[in-house]
């Protein structure tokens, strides 16, 4: 393992040379991720790794791509999507136009899941899904809507557990081990790079989803990000987080109302 002091040095140098602040990321996970690239790329002295990061912007980019955790799934946590389908989408459907934001969307599996839900609720035509991530490489994958075919069995099971009634395979074309999702879905998506640590609000949304991103941030950064979401959310809009995340330490209670046991809150004032 690398030493704590080495990790802190890396954080400082990255900030100094590239302006990116990892200082508010939770250390336990960050340290494992940094050690993982360090080993993967065959380094044996931290000093060499550090100077590579400092002097080679391409390598710096690779390192950032590798230390962000991009694991994601379609219809992860089916019960979440069930509530979305039954309770949230009908409410959003009363609006003439629906704006959604997936913050930390990774390779887009969640965004395509959402588009499928909107389509089945008859709302996709009047929706626009903004999807952002700090990692430019994952956004490229997301834009293409191409996922490994071998995942489709699990995803169609998740889809059914989430109350899906259709034949899941109608949403993609299978070809040489890949599944390419229909353009009809991706037409309603706008992808762009956005850093939750330093970038500001860019629109007003009816629903913001940021699932399994805040777990990588310390309390103070979580507070800032939740406030960014609050600024970007219309009154009566919805905020959704990962199953183990909460807004309760970040925002005054009474401003948001939680949906049963799910990690979905409605902004009530």
């Amino acid at each position: 393992m690398i030493e704590d002091i080495e990790l802190e040095t890396l954080i400082n140098e990255v900030y100094e040379y590239y302006g990116f602040d990892f200082g508010s990321y939770s250390r336990a996970s960050l340290k494992r991720r940094v050690y993982r690239v360090y080993q993967l790329d065959g380094f044996t002295h931290f000093h060499d790794f550090l100077s590579k990061v400092r002097t080679d912007p391409e390598y710096y980019k690779r390192m950032v791509d590798e230390i962000t955790v991009n694991v994601t799934e379609m219809f992860r946590d089916p019960s979440f999507y069930n509530i979305l389908r039954k309770e949230i989408l009908p409410l959003l459907g009363t609006k003439p136009f629906i704006r959604l934001w997936h913050a930390g969307c990774s390779t887009g599996e969640e965004v395509y899941s959402m588009a499928i839900m909107l389509k089945e609720a008859g709302l996709l035509h009047k929706s626009l899904i903004y999807a952002t991530d700090i990692n430019a490489t994952v956004l490229e994958t997301a834009k293409k809507g191409i996922f490994p075919l071998k995942m489709m069995k699990e995803y169609s099971q998740n889809y059914r557990d989430a109350g899906g009634q259709e034949d899941f395979s109608r949403y993609y074309t299978a070809n040489y081990g890949i599944a390419k999702f229909n353009d009809e879905l991706s037409q309603k998506m706008v992808y762009s790079q956005h850093n939750l640590v330093s970038d500001t609000s860019f629109n007003e949304f009816d629903m913001i989803l940021c699932r399994n991103v805040l777990i990588y941030f310390d309390n103070e950064l979580q507070k800032r990000v939740i406030n960014l979401f609050d600024e970007s959310l219309a009154v009566l809009g919805f905020l959704a987080l990962g199953t183990k995340e909460t807004i309760k330490y970040s925002i005054s209670p009474g401003k948001y109302k939680q949906y049963e046991k799910e990690k979905i809150w409605r902004k009530i004032k």
Partner: protein
């Protein structure tokens, strides 16, 4: 093996297990006394749909208060904590717990190795690691990390394990301080910090 199993200055007991470990835990946890200035953290492989049941089962059967783990849950002595499925469980220096959705390790999330290694870094010689029944190799690397950091490692006697593969693997590749059956593990836990 040593006869007088006295462990002092223990802050955390971390328990790992896979197939068959629930049985063992249900034999042990109900008879546990109040935890003497330490916390127990349980990391077992299970299906995501079973998330609540283990917590409920322990609450039902034992008098030790149980806490489900969420992002940044604070680890306090006297409580049993259960790792959620589908996340890796990590330990921070400020006694909070962290969750991470990165790739499965040893086909598992939570991975016992990941949690054991992370706990070893933070709690060094005030950590006790116990590995129970299972049918894969997860946990062995983690036990080695705990031992290397000065902690105490215990493996369930494979003869009393439903699935002896995991404890056998650990005995083969780490050097456990103790190999014990369920009753002995219970006695050990009750004697900690006394």
């Amino acid at each position: 093996m040593e006869e007088n199993k006295i462990i002092v200055n223990c802050k955390v007991v971390i328990i790992g297990g896979s197939a068959g470990s629930l049985n063992a835990l249900m034999q042990i946890l109900p008879s546990l006394n109040k935890l003497n200035n330490f916390a127990i953290v349980i990391v077992v492989h299970r299906k995501s749909t079973d998330d609540q049941t283990l917590e409920e089962l322990i609450t039902l059967k034992s008098s030790i208060p149980v806490k489900a783990i969420e992002d940044k849950t604070i680890l306090k002595s006297g409580f049993v904590y259960v790792a959620p499925s589908n996340y890796h469980l990590l330990f921070e220096k400020d006694d909070t717990l962290a969750l991470d959705t990165s790739e499965k390790i040893n086909y598992s999330r939570p991975s016992i190795d990941v949690s054991f290694e992370s706990a070893a870094e933070v709690y060094t010689d005030s950590l006790v690691g116990i590995l129970f029944s299972g049918s894969n190799t997860d946990g062995t690397q983690g036990l080695k990390a705990i031992k290397a950091a000065g902690g105490t490692i215990v493996v369930q006697n494979p003869l009393s394990a439903d699935m002896p593969f995991m404890p056998n693997n650990a005995i083969l590749f780490s050097s456990p301080d103790y190999v014990l059956n369920n009753k002995e593990i219970l006695d050990l836990l009750n004697s900690i910090n006394t």
